[in-house]
């Protein structure tokens, strides 16, 4: 297993896209922090990068990488190796290289400029989002052999999670405006890892505005240790469930 992970990581490093991604994150983070006169505003710009760019790069890169290594996977399958091991090591290699890229690219500047609770939450959610979207990419690639279809699905999934879902939530909110929606909102947010990450960061960034009644409901939930554990488990299950399901699929897949 370790051998495959090592191979995947060196392969990804050699292909330089992840390196460019790291450099891009570094440049973007340093520039947002040094351009703005107060670094909390820099954090806000960085929040957008984390919530939009990180999932996009993770999901697209992983999908394309998986399709490109189809032959390599076939070669591995012909060896005396369990399919589980192959799939999981591929995932581990991809997810860890993306996380490391994020940690270096965004984590270092955040630690330099904003080494506080908000900063740490941001780094943690960024890493989790990198892994989650790699997992979702695995789910997309295992469904179909058609490269165009798979990449299309990945792009649609990203669009759904980062844009359409919020539109739907907003729509539901307006339709049910007469009802107390606070708890339903918390439930809905669990259905989207990007939303959940955003709320976790928001609770620390916009503390004052969140002190109103609704904010207090969210803060009571997400701010308390139970809520934090809940959101962490939801984010983890966003990794585990797609990976587990794609592994099942891969095990019985006709390559």
């Amino acid at each position: 297993m370790n051998k495959i992970i090592k191979y995947v990581i060196t392969d990804i490093l050699r292909n330089k896209i992840v390196l460019i991604y790291t450099v891009f994150l570094l440049a973007a983070s340093f520039s947002v922090f040094s351009l703005e006169d107060n670094s909390s505003k820099g954090l806000l710009s960085l929040l957008n990068i984390i919530l939009i760019v990180v999932p996009l790069v993770s999901i697209i890169f992983s999908t394309i990488y998986m399709y490109n290594s189809a032959e390599f996977i076939e070669l591995l399958v012909s060896q005396p190796l369990k399919r589980n091991t192959i799939w999981l090591s591929l995932f581990t290699g991809l997810a860890s290289s993306l996380s490391i890229a994020f940690l270096i690219g965004a984590g270092v500047p955040v630690l330099i400029y904003q080494a506080n609770l908000v900063g740490f939450t941001m780094i943690l959610t960024g890493v989790l989002l990198s892994i989650i979207f790699a997992a979702i990419a695995f789910l997309a690639t295992v469904q179909t052999r058609d490269k165009a279809k798979g990449i299309g699905a990945a792009i649609m999934l990203w669009l759904y999670f980062s844009l359409l879902f919020d539109g739907l939530v907003l729509f539901i909110l307006f339709q049910f405006a007469d009802y107390p929606m606070e708890n339903a909102m918390i439930g809905l947010s669990a259905l989207n890892p990007i939303d959940l990450s955003r709320i976790l960061i928001l609770l620390q960034l916009d503390v004052s505005a969140m002190m109103g009644y609704t904010g207090a409901v969210f803060k009571d939930f997400f701010g308390a240790s139970n809520g934090l554990i809940f959101s962490f488990f939801v984010l983890l299950s966003w990794i585990v469930i797609p990976v587990w399901y794609s592994t099942l699929k891969f095990n019985s897949k006709d390559l």
């Binding site: 006169d37 107060n38 909390s40 505003k41 806000l44 929040l47 957008n48 919530l51 939009i52 980062s162 844009l163 919020d166 539109g167 939530v169 907003l170 909110l173 307006f174 405006a177 929606m181 606070e182 909102m185 918390i186 947010s189 990007i194 939303d195 955003r198 709320i199 928001l202 960034l205 916009d206 503390v207 004052s208 505005a209 969140m210 002190m211 109103g212 009644y213 609704t214 904010g215 207090a216 969210f218």
Partner: protein, 409 residues
């Protein structure tokens, strides 16, 4: 000039008669009451350190009561500790503890009844129901007192410095915490509140009602239940005050309700749920204030008229301005908004396109509070940007036509 000898001798007589009386365990007077019985107007009573249980001390002559080494006056949770009914009385340097609690009589640490020129200074008040209470006082001054109450709920707790009906009062350099309202003014005019610190009070740090022509300067109001509230008053001036950390659904840095002709300059609003909440405010001029890291810097209801904001700095607020209608009769000019993303082609340090401080999302949140959970998501910033180009939901006239490119000061 023929009255001169008369005046001269009167003065001489007065100064000669002002005696010093001492109270203490080793002095001729063991209790303050006996010393006060013996005192004549103009005398000074010096009280040595110690623990005095004198029930209710009534000062009905214009004497100076001075504590040496903060003697303790204990109200035993039953009495009003000092009642002043004489003009020109002075209470200086005592420690007053455990006044009685009664909502019928408003028992206080020190209460002034219908008197002029009373001075209350350098006292420490602990666990008093009302702290210092001026009832119909003129030209009184309350200086450098420390008031600490351990109020648990509003009903069980009185106000720190309570002024009901008065003129020309001076409240200077006091520190108040744990009371219901830190400083309370009702029907008080021509008075000044200067350099006080009012924090951790249950309701308001400062509560103004029907008090005209007052001024408050250099005060700190921090972490009070609902911030500061100024209502139904005219011609109030506020300079260089700090309003900080007032958090909660109904908490504001300052609430301005039915206020006319106010003037605010150099105040700091930091980390409040809303910095200023204005309702029915008319002709308020706000200049060179700083709004930093508030949830809403300013909530200005459509019932406000002729409010002018100039040269203020808005920095790091979640929402700059919130409002509840489309009618705008107020004016924003030359403020610095950190969210402004316009340009300055002619380099006169003033942005060339107007800034609209009301974001669409703040209108949505005002209407549907749960929408806050979508704040800062991609779709909401998209909506905000569209709204900026073609205003439909936000009031079209609420704008700063000439925003500053750099901080206003």
């Amino acid at each position: 000039m023929r009255y001169f000898p008369f005046i001269f001798f009167t003065l001489l007589y007065c100064s000669a008669s002002a005696a010093n009386i001492y109270v203490g365990a080793k002095r001729s007077h063991k209790t303050i009451i006996s010393a006060m019985d013996a005192a004549l107007p103009g005398d000074t009573i010096f009280v040595d350190a110690g623990h005095y249980r004198e029930k209710n001390l009534i000062i009905d002559k214009s004497i100076v009561l001075k504590g040496i080494g903060s003697p303790v006056l204990d109200g035993e949770k039953k009495y009003e500790i000092i009642s002043i009914t004489a003009d020109g009385a002075v209470v200086d340097g005592f420690k007053l503890i455990h006044s009685g609690i009664s909502s019928l009589e408003d028992l206080s640490g020190i209460k002034v009844y219908d008197s002029r020129n009373v001075v209350i200074r350098n006292n420490i008040l602990e666990d008093t129901f009302f702290g210092i209470y001026i009832q119909n006082g003129v030209n009184c001054s309350i200086e450098n007192n420390q008031l600490i109450a351990i109020g648990l709920e509003e009903q069980q707790s009185g106000n720190g410095i309570h002024c009901w009906k008065g003129d020309s009062l001076r409240v200077i350099g006091n520190q108040i915490s744990g009371h219901r309202d830190g400083i309370y003014f009702e029907f008080v005019k021509n008075s000044v509140i200067w350099r006080n610190v009012s924090k951790n009070n249950l309701r308001y740090g400062l509560h103004f009602m029907f008090s005209n022509d007052d001024m408050y300067v250099n005060n700190v109001f921090r972490n009070n239940g609902s911030g500061v509230s100024v209502m139904y008053s005219n011609r109030i001036k506020m300079f260089s005050n700090y309003f900080e950390e007032n958090w909660g659904d109904a908490a504001h840095g300052i609430l301005l309700k039915e206020i006319s002709d106010g003037f605010m300059e150099g105040n700091y609003f930091k980390r409040n749920t809303s910095g200023i909440y204005m309702e029915g405010a008319n002709r308020i001029y706000m200049k060179r204030n700083v709004f930093e890291n508030n949830g809403w810097a300013l909530k200005i209801q459509a019932s406000c008229m002729d409010v002018v904001l100039e040269l203020n700095n808005f920095i790091g607020n979640t929402f700059d301005v919130g409002t509840n209608g489309s009618l705008v009769l107020n004016r924003f000019n030359n403020n610095y908004w950190d969210k402004y993303d316009g340009y300055d082609l002619d380099k006169d340090k003033i942005g060339d396109i107007p800034y609209r401080p009301v974001s669409m999302y703040s209108m949505i949140v005002e209407k549907y509070p749960p929408a806050m959970i979508l704040f800062r998501s991609f779709i909401t910033s998209l909506l905000d940007k569209t709204e900026k180009l073609i205003p439909s939901l936000t009031p079209e006239n609420l704008k700063d036509p000439a925003p500053m490119m750099k901080r206003a000061f």
